[in-house]
Symmetry: C2
Subunit: 179 residues, 2 copies
Amino acid sequence: MAIVVLRIGHRPVRDMRITTHVGMTARALGADGMLLAADDPKIKESIDKVVRRWGGDFFVKIGVDWKKEIKQWKENGGMVVHLTMYGLNLPDAIGEIANRDLLIIVGAEKVPASLYNLADLNVAVGNQPHSEVAALALVLDHLQDGEELHGDFTGGERKIVPTRSGKRVKQVKPVASCG
Amino acid sequence: MAIVVLRIGHRPVRDMRITTHVGMTARALGADGMLLAADDPKIKESIDKVVRRWGGDFFVKIGVDWKKEIKQWKENGGMVVHLTMYGLNLPDAIGEIANRDLLIIVGAEKVPASLYNLADLNVAVGNQPHSEVAALALVLDHLQDGEELHGDFTGGERKIVPTRSGKRVKQVKPVASCG
């Protein structure tokens, strides 16, 4: 089961932090990568840095043509799901989207109206306005029955040792030098 | 079971959008209210507007003294949980925090070191860096076994009619006039 997030409607500067949260959430909660329909190298740099430091093989691709990506995903037999507060509520949609190769579209404030029809399914997380970051998190968690919280991120420089109070971090490999 | 979110480390302007996402997520996913340890009336205005439009009785209180709130919450027999990537992983913490009156602390980028000890428990959502919005969403969802996605928000002006594609909104009561 491949899960890739497609972020559209991103406006550089204004959406920088929210889109970074979308990408970091996608990575931490088991998605394979994020496609960004905007040319914003800073987003890619900051998430790539997290991957180097904390492991795993999450990818970020910027400047994609979102219509082309949707078309290609469908041609390859995958399902395209658009997260929106107007869609079917997650508990009613989960049976249809589980165990499929998913392209999950996460829009910013305004998304093109055509998207509602281009997606195979519009999915809401509670049918109330909240946050695309929260919506993505719950969809990823419900798809994987919470198993993603035990995800193993190998190859990074650091690992957290979970603790009731304070901070414990293990250096698992030397920080890469620039030489 | 009362659940209140305490947002600390908020910097006006810079954190405006993320803190708004925190508040909206708290409301949509069943928390009772948000305390904001900063004096930023815009956050309260925008969430209050969502409550008027979409229902429920979520409250926002700004300008709180976070140390005092923590102390008071404990004195009233409640539990204080701090969300941080360094804490106990959610699946290992859920048994301890379920069915308690919870003050959930959501910090911005930098939080005072003392917080790690003031909290009864530090809880992580996956022990990887991601987003306080995503972390809050998963904690609220796991605490309520997904039941919050069927939450009934009464008293608002509008309700969404969930649909596979497109947007359907029902006007359930007239928009309040200013007269």
